[in-house]
Symmetry: C2
Subunit: 332 residues, 2 copies
């Protein structure tokens, strides 16, 4: 495929940075084609990804995206792995995206984890990919969104996205999931603090992992107290579940709760509203990428460097520099 | 001040959302004026912040910004507090911005921490502010940048910015600092993993805090091994320091290393280059905010919602939606 010399591939292949992506291969779920498409999404330019998505988007309906978030060390990867194994047993095809820099899926695991991951990674019905941060011009959550479209179009119907629950990028990513599970561990004050900073509001389920440790009741009480105070957009009351992912405990309950959420959500107005808001945000994110890309190209490095120098010398403040760019480029 | 009824304040006051900010008050370092200006930076619209910065930017030269980053629980806040006390003893005026959601400065500390923070917070030469995430249209790092300009203009010459070392936003923030210290704790494999994900490249100093614990040598070896492999833009070799911030140990050494870095940086070409890149990035960030703000206003909620619905029904892919917006708004 990579030796292909043709230059024009209407509706079957996307060319970007010397890389050829087969649309047919993706739709047939061929791992190599999927992998190439994901690289394009991660590194490709706006036009190439746009062309790719145009083909795949209509065929990406019906997948269910489960967001798993929480502090480093909460055991998210193990939970993801256990869930994935359960879904595979149910004959689902499972896609996993690890956006968590501390995730074993991202390549930094201790040996034991690694071996288990390998088993999962080589299963024919599982596709695992770790996602690094996209460059300045793009947004990480936009890249993740596009990657999910690729996986859905490739027939992976259950998609697990693991992110670390700190930082706006991560919150953005989790907000694109159909359902979000926040993973906590007993007795970590830090967790609850991080939760307060934004993750609490977006959790549809709370999972107290490593629930064989002391302090489960205290953590549960803290979560429930917080939930009681948080306004919700839905008639769904987020349950607080307990798991010991390393021993496979509580995973079936988690899976059945996810299924219940999905069934309820499908018939709900708040769910439609949430999805609408999500699509809206996605358009805005893409718009930002596209416009900025254009403007930076048109302004050119020379102008930007000149303005940057003036700002450095305090001849100009940064806002005035932007004003000048606006005028130079005849922007509205 | 808030009862003021005048409608036009050339070059002395900025009006935004019924809030009046006194430029003179900021320049005289009056805490209330500074506080209001920071709120404006955090919540205000582009035009108001632009007006504010126009006045303050030329007067904000000479401050030194120290970025402190690292995993939750690494003791960053205690380190920041100790450094601040040292600088205060040296008759500096110190500004502290906590952008870390898990920081005690942000309001979630256990009692002991809280009391010490209070002492620092009420000191006349110290200004502490926690910074939450700015909405979708802005960028957190742009808001932090502007806040630093406000504090510098108010005469706080030593500025400490604490962020959690996970996520692109946080990396962006730390990159705006004049010098960046990455805080680690002994024996945490997770730390090194997180480091690999991007923080390692931007650390000018590495601090192994809680150095009275086991595993200091191992952590030091890991950091040094990583540093040996990382290409650097400078002739500065990042030192690895040891501290026990809770007991005030190693703080003086850290401070003197920061001073050394500053002295070296001032006369260096790589430093000029780094600052130029920083100003450039700042202009681009602002440009993004400004353009997006404009476009969303002009497109209006109605158009965005209609497009979002079509995307939800898969009549349109998100990239095609953006294309349509582009045409509707006659963007170049």
């Amino acid at each position: 495929m990579s030796n292909c010399k043709k230059r024009w591939y209407p509706r079957t292949q996307i060319r970007a940075s010397m890389q050829y992506v087969s649309i047919e291969g993706i739709l047939q779920g061929r791992p190599r084609a999927v992998s190439k498409a994901l690289s394009l999404v991660e590194n490709g330019d706006f036009a190439a990804v746009s062309e790719l998505l145009q083909e795949l988007y209509p065929k990406a309906a019906g997948a269910f995206v489960i967001g798993i978030t929480g502090s480093p060390g909460a055991g998210k990867s193990t939970l993801v792995e256990q869930l994935a194994q359960l879904y595979v047993q149910q004959s689902h095809r499972v896609g996993i995206l690890a956006v968590d820099p501390t995730s074993p899926f991202s390549g930094g695991a201790i040996l034991g984890d690694r071996i288990r991951m390998q088993e999962l990674a080589t299963h024919p019905d599982v596709f695992i990919r770790s996602f690094a941060t996209r460059g300045k011009l793009g947004g990480l959550s936009a890249a993740v969104d596009d990657a999910l479209v690729v996986l859905a179009a490739a027939g992976y119907e259950t998609l697990l996205v693991e992110t670390v629950g700190v930082g706006q990028d991560e919150v953005d990513i989790v907000q694109t999931a159909d359902v979000t599970a926040v993973v906590l561990v007993p007795g970590m004050g830090d967790d609850i603090q991080a939760i307060k900073a934004g993750i609490m509001e977006i959790g549809d389920l709370f999972v107290i992992n490593k629930a064989d440790r002391d302090g489960v009741q205290k953590t549960r009480a803290e979560v429930e107290a917080h939930l009681a105070l948080s306004p919700r957009d839905s008639d769904w009351t987020p349950p607080v579940l307990e798991t010991v992912a390393s021993q496979g405990k509580g995973i079936a309950e988690l899976e059945s709760m996810l299924t219940r959420f999905r069934a309820l959500a499908r018939s709900s107005d708040w769910w439609k509203q949430r999805r609408l808001e999500r699509q809206r945000q996605r358009i805005i994110d893409l718009l930002r990428t596209r416009i900025l890309d254009d403007v930076v190209k048109r302004a050119g490095n020379l102008t930007l460097d000149t303005l940057a120098k003036q700002v450095g010398l305090r001849e100009l403040d940064p806002y005035a520099a932007v004003e000048r760019l606006y005028k130079d480029l005849s922007l509205p």
